[in-house]
Amino acid sequence: MPENVPENEPEVLPGRGSAPTGGWQTARVLSLTDETPRAKTIRLALEVPTRQLAGQHYVVRLTAPDGYTASRSYSVASAPDGSGEIELTVERLDDGEVSTFLHEVVEPGDELEVRGPIGGWFVWPGEGRALLVGGGSGVVPLAAMLRHARALGRPDLVHLVVSVRTPHDLYYRDELLGDGVTVVYTREAPPGSARAPGRLRVDDLAPFVMPDATAFVCGGTSFCNAATDLLASAGVGVDRIRVERFGPTG
């Protein structure tokens, strides 16, 4: 998402302008699943199926009877699978006009206006190595990349490092506790963890740094700043780091 991005794009990734982009359409809510007490995954059936790239997002627009609208962007969590269905994971923000509505009011069968897929920068096309580094809800677009790699039968291409405060804050727990994923707990770790709780460190990332990999970093601003500094310390060139910052949008 805007504002700025660099020019020195890694050759392994698709060039600018090659990502699919879709217009407004109506989507039907198929299901809502709790990921954590503060995050729900909404599965949508699209009227106009568009195969997205892993990492792209959709805009959800709510319209009141008097025409007032509110819209927010949410990353697609599901892998591109040609099914015509997508999953968006929405973190509930207490003052978030859209996220509280999606959490409290929306039910299966409802129709929502959506637009997408959008974004041609923070995408992994399914080839080339990638190190995925997410903080909290920033794991969502990275989960799409991980799921895509697994669906392609190439889980070796990506490694996900996800930082969460406690075990209760981990999205997609059943899929993320396993090979190809490192979970870093900052406040409270599960019993028996070898690593004491604490912020992401360079030695959490260094084992997974490869010279030809692109790093995808997603999370809040302070997480992204810290993670990009750590990646740089671990020898990843800034031209190989792509960042998506989740602002306090609601």
Binding site: M1, P2, E3, N4, V5, P6, E7, N8, R16, G17, A19, T21, G23, W24, T26, R61, L62, T63, A64, P65, G67, Y68, T69, A70, S71, R72, S73, E97, F101, V105, V106, D110, E111, L112, E113, R115, I118, G119, G120, W121, F122, T221, N225, T228, D229, L231, A232, V238, I241, R242, V243, E244, R245, G247, P248, T249, G250
Partner: protein
């Protein structure tokens, strides 16, 4: 007219007239949205250049650009991700002052703003003329933070904020339009928030 969403009435219906359609007031927060690692740029090596279709290609150092007559913008900014921040004060130099020195040639129609990171964004020349655009290094009385494009960014507040290139390095004056980074990635070519020109086709 879009069909309405079941159960949605909306909040904050005493809507501030300064908010363009589809935008909300972020209040005291200033979200950071950037697709790259935040660079550290030293002001003693920083430069700003105007090149291309101009009579006098010109490069300013940090001290030289500060020696030009200063200019202030007081008003609002609007991000395409739907937040707006109202009542801000930015201080720097008007792009008019810089273009008056470089003097665009008659065939010049557009500019491509270029950042020290390599980021680009395109604008019609008219959108950076006539008190519409600045190079700024101060926000609300403080030096512009790195996360927000410091030491200096472009400020084009009448358009969505991705046009206000962070860490700006210069303007390439062109005799044609040349899409910048986000414009090649699905975002609108011009980005007028009052017309909701968010994405291609809006």
């Amino acid at each position: 007219m879009a069909k309405f969403t079941r159960g949605f009435t909306g909040r904050g219906r005493a809507r501030d007239a300064r908010l363009p359609p589809g935008q909300y007031d972020t209040g005291t927060q200033w979200p950071v949205l950037t697709a790259e690692a935040t660079p550290t740029l030293a002001t003693d090596t920083w430069t700003f250049a105007i090149e291309g279709e101009v009579e006098v290609e010109t490069t300013w150092t940090w001290d030289q650009i500060h020696a030009l007559p200063g200019s202030t913008y007081e008003g609002d900014i609007h991000c395409v991700t739907t937040w707006s921040k109202l009542g801000m004060t930015f201080r720097g130099v008007s792009v008019d002052t810089l273009l008056d020195i470089a003097r665009p040639r008659p065939e010049a129609t557009h500019v491509l703003a270029v950042s020290h990171t390599g980021y680009t964004t395109n604008l019609p020349l008219a959108d950076v003329r006539d008190h519409k655009a600045w190079v700024v290094w101060e926000a609300d009385g403080e030096p512009l933070p790195r996360d927000h494009g410091g030491p200096a960014r472009l400020l084009v507040p009448h358009l969505y904020f991705w046009k206000s290139a962070k860490w700006v390095a210069g303007l390439r004056v062109l005799d044609h339009d040349e899409p910048g980074f986000w414009e090649q990635n699905g975002y609108h070519d011009r980005g007028d928030p009052w017309l909701e020109q968010r994405y291609q086709g809006d």
